[in-house]
């Protein structure tokens, strides 16, 4: 069954079309990369799937059921979302924050039980943040904070993980670490959708790419189907060279320059 099925979704915000007639789906265990220029609608798409921004028109189904029929706790047991802004201003310990992810599994009157502590522990182990458990979140580095919020989302025990630019603010070590974690999780059957800016890392780690351009899906498919010089030119207005990295065997995109100026300057 499709974890996510979107049919002709449009979103208008203050009279501006942000997403136009999008249709796509995500299966269990897939790692889908959302790529596209700034302002192309990647974040809005993720927020919509997370249930934070309702679609203006079209049909969005989560596990075969329209998203509007879910209560917020039910949805949170299926979907974990890590927003782009991971700032934490208040002195909660890492353990407290990860335990907050157990909220959808608790009743209004209940407090955390042993099972919830074990699940939080597991989520911290998976993200190797367990040694930070008693640290205050305000003292963490950006990369550590990102991992902690992923741990919180994992503690929700979701089938679908949504990440909005999870690696944009991180150094290369954490970038690889987050993406490897996503691969590991999708290997266990979790579906992941992440907005990414780095086309090389997207090509290397994702099963499928969705390229957004001005609120529309310009191209969708395996990395080598999406990342062609023509499509990149159309989406980013940049001339690019696409090759296979001999070491990794993955696609490599090298941005050359705007339009055809590059060929003009360098080859003639």
């Amino acid at each position: 069954m499709n974890i996510v099925a979107a049919e002709k979704i449009s979103i208008w915000i203050d009279g501006c079309p942000i997403l136009r007639e999008l249709s796509f789906s995500a299966q269990a265990g897939e790692f889908i990369g959302l790529i596209g220029p700034n302002g192309s609608g990647k974040s809005t798409l993720l927020r919509m799937v997370a249930g934070l921004t309702p679609p203006s028109s079209g049909q969005l189904k989560i596990l075969g059921r329209p998203i509007a029929e879910y209560k917020s706790k039910q949805l949170a047991r299926i979907i974990g979302y890590v927003p782009q802004d991971t700032s934490i201003d208040f002195d909660f310990s890492v353990r407290e924050i990860v335990l907050m992810g157990r909220h959808p599994h608790l009743s209004r009157f209940g407090s955390e039980r042993q099972l919830d502590r074990i699940m939080a522990q597991k989520a911290m182990q998976q993200t190797t943040t367990l040694h930070l458990a008693d640290r205050m979140a305000t003292t963490l580095s950006g990369g550590q904070r990102q991992m902690v919020l992923i741990a919180k989302a994992l503690a929700q025990d979701p089938q679908l993980l949504l990440l909005d630019e999870p690696i944009s603010a991180l150094d290369i070590r954490y970038q690889l670490y987050v993406l490897e974690l996503m691969r590991k999780l999708t290997g266990k059957g979790i579906t992941a959708m992440a907005a990414l800016h780095d086309l090389n890392l997207a090509a290397r780690f994702c099963d499928r790419l969705v390229l957004l351009h001005q609120g529309e899906i310009l191209s969708m498919g395996k990395p080598d189907e999406v990342l062609t010089p023509d499509i990149i030119q159309k989406a980013y207005d940049v001339h690019a060279n696409v090759s296979i990295d001999p070491l990794l065997g993955a696609l490599t995109v090298t941005a050359l320059g705007e339009r055809n100026d590059f060929t003009h300057h360098n080859f003639h």
Partner: protein
């Protein structure tokens, strides 16, 4: 994460025992401690006054009221002073302090801003307009209850107007609500100023000023009965939202994606805080600083966890206001100060000292 430690070292660290129930026991002990502290403060406040009564007799009389009889003898006069004069006033003070403390903590959580107090959504100034109307138009002569009733109606109306305007606003953000509150608060205080300026009667003007300063003198068991239900119910329901408030501190998106219905939670908490503050202000007049200082102090001492912060603020507010009332009765005998004034006199320096001393639990930015 990718630190220099070897894999086995990392594994060893990861096999730490699960945290035990220490946290819960700690919570229980501090709640019992706060309960006892409140009882001690009530006993202290009942025994001091123009007619000093020894603690032993005071405890015996209070426990006697609760149905526990002790072998201590006390005079008829002592019984009368405590049970008819001091105890109702102290209980009204404790209830109002609890209401203001817990509402302040809830409001600061909802607004994600530790400088907010319950009056920010127009409750206090609405109540003030209601009360000043009752005094100005002479309704308070007809019945003892016209003043609190009118104040309460004013509070409810002000909150309804603000929430309705907020709903209709374009962004509906929490910052908009705060700004709306500030706008409507100044409009309402302008109304009060107009009524005060056009008051022709000195006595009337004096009672308006006294009401605006907040006081607890001559409060009776009827006052206790009037506010005990809304305040206790409001406190208990608010306590159910501790975890929600914690999660909302991480941001609306974080909370919503973890299963908190942010908008509904916000409305419920604003309504509860308004109900409690409205009831409190209706019988005491405007008492500032309790709702601001008490939750802030507790947050600075113990951190931002609302599951602790909410009940502790209720107890803290009650203790603070009862003590402030003792000060207002005793410090310039035989003149009694208004308790609202005393709260500000004690609260403001305390607040400044705490802010300078510690930054735990506040915003780090």
């Amino acid at each position: 994460m990718y630190s220099a430690q070897s894999p086995s070292e990392r594994l060893a660290r990861e096999e730490m025992p699960l945290p035990n129930k220490q946290g819960f026991h700690c919570f229980l002990f501090s709640m019992i401690g706060l309960c006892l502290a409140l009882f001690a403060v009530i006993v202290f406040a009942s025994s001091v006054g123009p007619v000093p009564i020894p603690f032993e007799q005071t405890i015996a009389i209070i426990l006697g009221k609760l149905g526990v009889h002790m072998e201590t003898n006390f005079t008829e006069r002592e019984l009368l002073v405590i049970s008819e004069v001091r105890l109702p006033r102290i209980l009204v003070g404790a209830l109002i302090g609890a209401a203001l403390g817990i509402s302040g903590a809830a409001m600061q959580g909802v607004f994600r801003n530790p400088l907010v107090e319950p009056g920010y959504v127009g409750v206090s100034s609405g109540a003030a307009v209601g009360a000043v109307c009752a005094l100005f138009f002479g309704w308070s002569q007809f019945s003892l209850w016209a003043l609190p009733l009118s104040a309460f109606m004013g509070a409810v109306l002000a909150v309804i107007v603000i929430l309705a305007v907020w709903r209709g606003s374009r962004s509906r953000s929490i910052a908009t609500l705060l700004l709306l509150g500030i706008g409507i608060n100044s409009l309402l205080s302008a109304l009060i100023n107009i009524m005060m300026a056009s008051s022709t009667n000195d006595q009337e003007l004096r009672s308006i000023i006294f009401w605006l300063q907040g006081g607890l003198e001559a409060r009776t068991w009827e006052h206790v009965q009037l506010i005990i239900l809304p305040i206790l119910a409001g406190c208990l329901i608010t306590l159910l939202f501790g975890r929600h408030l914690n999660m909302m501190l991480l941001g609306d998106d974080q909370a919503a994606s973890s299963g908190v219905n942010v908008r509904r939670t916000r409305y419920i908490l604003l309504a509860l805080a308004s109900l409690m503050t409205g009831s409190a202000v209706a019988v005491s007049g405007i008492i500032g600083f309790v709702g601001l200082v008490v939750p802030h102090m507790i947050r600075l001492l113990t951190g931002p966890d609302h599951r602790f912060l909410l009940p502790a603020s209720a107890f803290g507010g009650a203790i603070f206001l009862v003590l402030a009332d003792v000060v207002s009765r005793m410090v310039l005998q035989p003149v009694t100060l208004q308790v609202g004034v005393v709260c500000a006199c004690i609260g403001a320096p305390l607040f400044i000292a705490l802010i300078l001393r510690s930054r735990k639990g506040g915003r780090t930015t």
